[in-house]
């Protein structure tokens, strides 16, 4: 019997997972979750007469289905209802998925681009507590989503509603009754019931639509270390204290970046068009003599968590020429500086050293001057030149336009439409200890 870890989509919170491997309902009745507790096969459905795993009164939980349906298919997808209490998930004609709590319609969403020929569709319903609840009537927050797997389209409805009332009836997948009343007229391919964790859209997509390509990451990552809670009683008298402290110590090693967020988050409204001749009041030739011009509208002084040693910088640039010549090479540097190039006015005493680091990108692009367009350019990891407080750094952008392909540089234009900087750690030598890095 397969179990948790043997089947990719049978996870820690999965209480039932059925997959049609060709034998239809017979396959779907086989529970591939770690619970390994098979369902029964009914008429047009699979079901379990009772069972605590279907408890939907304790949040969060999630229902996921992969089905093949066309625009005329209808029927019950999941139900557990008694006397007006419980849950119901159905499909109505036209690809309308409807979620009901205690028979009240709480959310509906239409499958995008569903057609007569049928599409593979992932339907997911995730519920968690509504933290902004004002009473029992909106204690829950639901996300009802549909992914048209065949064409990649997606739709979602978010709703708040009451907690469903417990129902002792059978949990039935694919029909209203075990005898096949209101049976789903399409094909059920995968069914999953999960308890104890909210499934965000990203998880449903990764599980039932397709895996995102893995990124090659140079920056250190962090994640929560699994540590039992107080309720587990592992920390109580007559238990082992050592494992608790060891686990908490491991967790502390992952906390050094926990609160490290964006240092620069600039998304410019009405981004001005720039050329090689910026306003003289704003420009400063870089003291390194490389011909770059600092522009004052891109100078910021920002705090950086002390544990970080590099900055991830990106700019979104839209470039074009006003004549027909080939685009020029716009070289852009992002500086991290211990102070501004000329220092601050009004400060007594000698200027501290102008410690600075920079990285550079090159933009040769013909994006046009429309209201959309351009591309993101990522700088190599930027070392941090900390200011006198050790808490901050000065960040600035500098520009240089070089002729590339003739036509001179006077007709080159560009806009900086966004500039983002995020802190992190590069440990290419693998020598830095977790937590507390210089």
């Amino acid at each position: 019997m397969a179990g948790q870890g043997d089947v990719a989509n049978a996870k820690d919170d999965t209480r039932y997972y059925g997959v049609d491997s060709g034998a239809g309902l017979t396959d779907l009745a086989v529970d591939l979750s770690h619970q390994a507790d098979d369902l029964d096969v009914g008429t047009g459905c699979v079901y379990e007469a009772s069972g605590s795993r279907w408890d939907f009164t304790t949040l969060p939980w999630a229902i996921d289905l992969l089905v093949n349906a066309n625009d005329t298919d209808t029927g019950y997808l999941y139900s557990r209802e008694t006397g007006g209490n419980g849950l119901r998930l159905t499909l109505a004609t036209g690809g309308v998925v409807e979620a009901r709590v205690d028979t009240v319609l709480v959310a509906s969403v239409t499958i995008p681009n569903i057609d007569a020929g049928g599409d593979d569709v992932a339907i997911t319903w995730s519920i968690e507590a509504n933290v902004f609840t004002t009473g029992a009537g909106n204690a829950c927050r639901s996300e009802l989503r549909v992914f048209n797997v065949d064409d990649g389209t997606f739709a979602q409805t978010v709703a708040t509603h009451a907690l469903p009332t417990a129902a002792a009836a059978s949990a039935i997948w694919g029909a209203r009754t075990t005898a096949g009343a209101s049976a789903f007229s399409g094909d059920m391919l995968e069914l999953r019931w999960s308890v104890g964790r909210f499934h965000p859209a990203a998880e449903s997509r990764e599980d039932f639509v397709g895996l995102t390509a893995a990124s090659v990451l140079a920056y250190e990552n962090r994640r929560e270390v699994p540590v039992p809670t107080r309720d587990s009683a592992i920390g109580a008298h007559n238990q082992f204290a050592g494992p608790v402290y060891q686990a908490v110590a491991a967790g502390l090693g992952q906390l050094d970046l926990r609160q490290a967020g964006a240092v620069v988050a600039e998304l410019y409204l009405d981004a001005p068009t720039q050329d090689e001749s910026p306003p003289t009041v704003r420009a400063l030739d870089d003291p390194d003599g490389d011909g770059f011009a600092f522009l004052g509208q891109y100078l910021v002084h920002r705090p950086v968590p002390r544990s970080c040693n590099r900055l991830r910088v990106r700019v979104q640039i839209q470039a074009w020429r006003v004549d027909a010549s080939p685009p020029d090479n716009i070289r852009i540097r992002c500086y991290s500086m211990a102070r501004t190039p000329l220092g601050l006015a009004g400060n007594a005493g000698p200027l501290p050293a102008w410690t600075r680091f920079y990285e550079e990108v090159s933009v040769i692009s013909a994006d046009g001057s429309g209201t959309t367009g351009g591309a993101w350019y990522a700088f190599d990891p930027l070392r941090i030149a900390r200011d006198g407080t050790e808490d901050g750094t000065w960040l600035g952008l500098a520009f240089l336009v070089e002729d590339d392909g003739g036509g001179g540089t006077a007709d080159q234009r560009w806009r900086v439409r966004a500039w983002t900087v995020e802190p992190g750690i590069i440990d290419s030598a693998g020598e830095l200890p977790l937590g507390g890095l210089a």
Binding site: V227, G242, R258, P272, P305, T340, N347
Partner: protein
Amino acid sequence: MAVYWRQTLAGLGQHVAPEIVPLNGLKLMRRGPVEAVFRSQDFVVGLSRRIVATGGLRGSETWRTPNSDPTAMAGTHPTPTARRRIGSGSIDLTPGCFLRCWAVVVPSGETQLSGTTPGGPQGRLEVDCVWTDRTGATVSTTHAVALPASAEQYGAEPAVMWEALYGRTISEITPPGLGPTDELRRWCQHVHVDVTIYAVAGARVVDAVVFEQPLEVAMEADDDGELWCSHLYASVAPGGAAAPLLYPWQRFDETTPDGNPRGGTLHALDVHHGQYQRLGPVLCSWSAARESTGAETVALVATAALEGGGSTTFALAEPGLACGSGGYARRQSSNSEYVLRNRVAAIPVIVRAFAAASVAGSVRVQTRGDSYIDVTIPVGAIAWHVAQGWLEVGITPDHTRCLIQLFGTSCTVHAVTVHYAGGYIPADA
């Protein structure tokens, strides 16, 4: 009787993770390695430099306050009391951290009293805060710093701004009366703060940033275990003296109420989970203010990108904000390598939009085609509106998919803030 502990966090050094090896199995339980765990738990909140709000030139080439003669025409210059919102943010404070403001400016420009009467070159930077404690009670404060005035004719800016940059700091932006420990403890309960940065009169702000700065933390013996984000093991400061541990598992005083929960396994677990539930990044804090025109908001009718570009749907090539470092808040239970296979991350967040609407509108924060949160903007004047949800984020800052894009429909928007909210409990809950 209330029993308090407090620690000073200002000037705190770097977080140092405790050694794990001495805590491995088959080793004698010793005080030192255990104490290192407690002390390390006290350094964590002091790491925060989360940015709450920013404002300034933000790409503009010109100032709201012109270099021209104020007597030439009425309405060309701001009045001496005119306040312009240049940035706003709204977050739940890291317990023990309050706020600090750094600003870099050039000399302030000319003002007009009424008509064309000059008011003289002058400017201030003001930071308004509305602090909400856990009972829902609010306290408003204003923190101001005077800015240098231009000595040029008509209060013009210097010929080269780089030669006349001035730095200004508002060191401690806090609620009033943090001296008594009970009042400090009131504001160390993961409280909420709305922040607005104003440029007043002829202020010319190149860049202003309001960010979290560790100051002091206090807790009370019977505070709910889930609210502790620091162990408060040592006295005075995390590196201070501490009472000797008696037994590895035992808290200093098991009495309830008014005991001493510190110094044992249960408290270590509570603090661990408090830190992972409540501490996390501010993904972005963005404002629509533009220095060149003095505009504070952007108004949208049909669905459009808030930055004014032509996009109406999410597109990775279009401009936005970064959310790669959001991956630092990955949770073991919901987006570990097993759950999301180390391809993407998704974290619970709270989205706040400072916006108004004349017909019901919405603001959308989106990080992928199927990852977005809509904040409903009801009919009414500008105010903060909020929504909970989950956003896909990168795993690290260099993750190839780490972009936030902002859209709006039928609303007028000044600011949007997105922050981690793993164990979010609103005030007055």
